[in-house]
Amino acid sequence: MKATPTVLDPSGFELPAADRRWLRWTIYIGYVALTAGIFHGLAQALSYANIDILKFFPGLKGYYQGLTAHGVANALVFTFAFSNGFLPLMTARALSRPLVGWLTAAVFVVLLAGNLLVIYAVVTNQASVLYTSYAPLQAHWTYYLGLVLVVVSTWLALANMLVVYRGWRRANPGARVPLLAYISVVSYVMWFLASLPIATSFLGFLLPWSLGLMEKVDPLLTRTLFWFTGHAIVYAWLLPAYVSWYALVPRQAGGRLISDSYTRIVFILFLLLSIPTGFHHQYTDPGIPEAIKAVHAVLTFGVFFPSLATAFSVVAALEIGGRSRGGRGLLGWVTKLPWGDPSLAAQMLAMLTFVLGGVSGLINASFTMNQVIHNTTWVPGHFHLTVGSAVTLTHMGVAFWLVPYLTGRGLWSRGQALTSAWVYTIGVLIFARGMIAAGLEGMPRRTFRVAMTYSNPAWDFGGMLTGIGGTLMFFGIAQFFIVIAMTALSGPRGAHPRDVPVSETLTAPAATGWERHLDRIGLWVAVTIALCVIAYGPFLAMYLPARLVSPGFRLF
């Protein structure tokens, strides 16, 4: 069978130096945020093990200030900074066209400005509301405005991608969109749609309320708008990792992606089903009819399906790689994969941990079963196996070729890079095991255990594992940061990859027939909006207008 490229120009592509610089600095913001966030991550994990290290944090006014910093830096800034650099690069590479220079620069500037505002609010302890920002806890206006700017930076990155995409479509009428560009654009289009409710909440309510322009807000409505965005946001973190798994990892493993159409269908399913599922985060909330929660439960089970399909497709691509390297037998190909390549190893470890993340997520989605684990440490146990492992480890793996590619310097130390991924993986598995076990015993999440006025010995074992695992995670990320910083500062010049590692597919995109409709992103956006109207329309129609009942509380 003849293999086909997923990019327009398989021979190579020269990224303009200006693009290279802005993309590099954009993702650096993410690595700095990741590293800044893990210090309090360590303090939290140790707190669950009943060890208090907060006294060693000068300037920190309390546990929840640090917890806010951890969530914002690691879940929001790290992830979107990476995507803001990675997805436009993938689009430009796949279509062999340059990015729009001023937009690439604007993404960096707006993201940085947003970060500075959030840092000001959090560091001065005027925003200890945690990243979920539940009203009527009220933060300083700079916090809300800063987060809005972080979101605006993602819109600018998408605008950049769409300009490149449309330019290519005009120049190539009727041609199938190269797969890597297609899945990159669909990922951020999904996020753009998903971000509109939280933008409405922040710009329409929380920001004017924090400025004193509005006296009271509606806690249930703003919380609902948060989760309208808030489930899809985890897919916005995950899909860039999937872009790497589908379109880059097979090449790195010496394999090929099995199907072009199948991959597009998976991304369309994520576009359709990521957003209309948010009420499964609000199963235990009052004020929302049980029947609507049931609809969201079914849709949440639906969004599990494209992840199942991904599991098959990605492992099949790895198997092709393993067998082409001489692997034999049912599982012999696994050992033949290039585990010594830190970029590939980190991403394969990401996939392994994500199996557990997916299964624990299905339990969260399981309607009344959610009452057993809601708001216990089970939940952060779960999402450290998704965003905290699948996404983080994939971003680490990608960084091991991306930073060299963008800086023109080779990876500083292959051994250290490899070690950082393994230490982090072992750490997150121990950590999540502890969080999940203690969560089943009712240990509350987002709670400063060291200072609790109640206790439960059933939490001790899980808490201890949490502390041990969290410590290993801390050292894994610290080592990752050293590898990246040393690569950027003193990696061997010229020893860098010259191109993005783009895979070929076994089956080419069809030139005729129904599969051409897969490329009509506008059509799928319309279907997505229809599904969101079905999922959220009845509640909003029944509930609105907003109940402006709560003044702000600053309890930190």
Binding site: G62, Y64, L67, S128, L130, Y134, P136, L137, D218, P219, L220, R223, I258, S261, Y262, Q282, T284, D285, P286, G287, I288, P289, E290, A294, A297, F301, F304, F305, L308, F312, A316, S366, F367, T368, M369, N370, Q371, V372, H374, N375, T376, G442, P444, R446, T447, F448, A451, M452, T453, Y454, N456, T507, E515, R547, V549, S550, P551, F553, L555, F556
Partner: protein, 155 residues
């Protein structure tokens, strides 16, 4: 579009597993009568202390072996701090908060709820075993969050 036989089998198996899980949830909800909270009424959070039944939180008998438990969660305590009820009775919880969002989790049970300003949270439960159950606030509600707890005493 060609789909490999193994892949087809894998996807069918996955889909059927998902359907089986959903069937179990339907059975749990409709067959066993396990429910999630639904719309339970609204209240002005700034008038909680003056609005019945929240002006007098506590336990009251509403019928043979039926009790209503009225709870107000506020920074950083629950009223009442100790709920005394008999084993095997049908308990109806009616709860709200005058300030920020709180959690209400009776440890070891599926009574796991949110208190949201402006909304009234309702739930039913029956404690079969006598004993003491901890109630924890499991939603961050400010600097004193980790001190917010109460208990249920089942006799």
């Amino acid at each position: 579009m060609k789909v490999h036989t193994y892949e087809r089998a894998f996807l069918w198996l996955g889909a059927l597993t998902l359907v089986a899980c959903m069937a179990a949830l339907v059975y749990g909800s409709l067959g066993l009568g396990l429910h999630l909270p639904t719309r339970g009424g609204e209240i002005d959070p700034q008038q909680v202390g003056a609005t019945p039944p929240f002006d007098a939180p506590g336990v009251r008998q509403t019928g043979p072996n039926r009790y209503e438990v009225v709870v107000v969660g506020r920074i950083w305590s629950f009223a009442p701090a100790a709920i005394e009820i008999p084993a095997g009775a049908d308990i109806e919880f009616t709860m709200t908060t005058p300030d920020v969002i709180h959690g209400f989790h009776i440890e070891g049970t599926r009574v796991n709820l949110m208190l949201i300003p402006g909304q009234i949270t309702r739930a039913r439960y029956r404690f079969e075993r006598p004993g003491e159950y901890a109630i924890l606030c499991h939603e961050y509600c400010g600097v004193g969050h980790h001190t917010m707890n109460a208990k249920v005493v089942v006799k």
